[in-house]
Symmetry: C2
């Protein structure tokens, strides 16, 4: 089973596609324009845009002979949400670890003082 989260993260795992998203955030662009900017074939760029489209990160519309690409619905929320939830637990875990380390350190210092006595 391949979830939407899978396709979102997979779409983001390519530098070219992240670049395209950043470009689209600055304004709509045609396939030709994107292909030129990233030094790539039209066909190649179209595939990347297809991936972004399937992940819901971009939408396209063909008017006349030019296909205009723009940012899609805010599907990134899912990815961000997962990272946030996960990072929280991660941080909790590291904080707990730190507390243990600090406790051990204090213990160590007490023992050191005791030894010096």
């Amino acid at each position: 089973m391949t979830t939407r989260l899978d396709t979102s993260f997979a779409a983001l795992s390519d530098a070219t596609r992240r670049g395209v998203l950043e470009q689209l955030a600055r304004g709509d662009a045609s396939i030709t324009e994107l292909a030129a900017q990233f030094r790539m074939t039209l066909t190649g760029m179209k595939k990347h845009v297809g991936v972004l489209e399937r992940a819901g990160l971009a939408t396209t519309q063909k008017i006349g002979r030019v296909r205009t690409c723009r940012l899609g619905p805010r599907r990134l929320d899912e990815a961000t949400e997962w990272l946030d939830r996960y990072r929280t637990r991660w941080d909790e875990r590291f904080d707990a670890l730190e507390r243990v380390v600090q406790a051990l350190t204090r213990e160590e210092q007490r023992n050191a003082r005791k030894r010096r006595k």
Copy 2:
């Protein structure tokens, strides 16, 4: 060129690996335990752990014959950072779009009122 961001996002694009991370957030685990939980070969699970390790999301340590896996350094910050930066611009863009739409709507309403006169 394949950046660290690439490998981070790629590592997160698989449901099994995200599951492993969630599991590790609840506590350390051996390869055998993880393999059992996700109904998979030891070899298969080891590969997943390897991917997480290479992405800096997990670390492992072999003591005796068991390899214990735990969460790695907070490498996720990079991914979160990118998403945040990107989402900001995204939202700005959508907000701008909304303002335009609203402006057009108000214009439309004014015209409608004018027409009714």
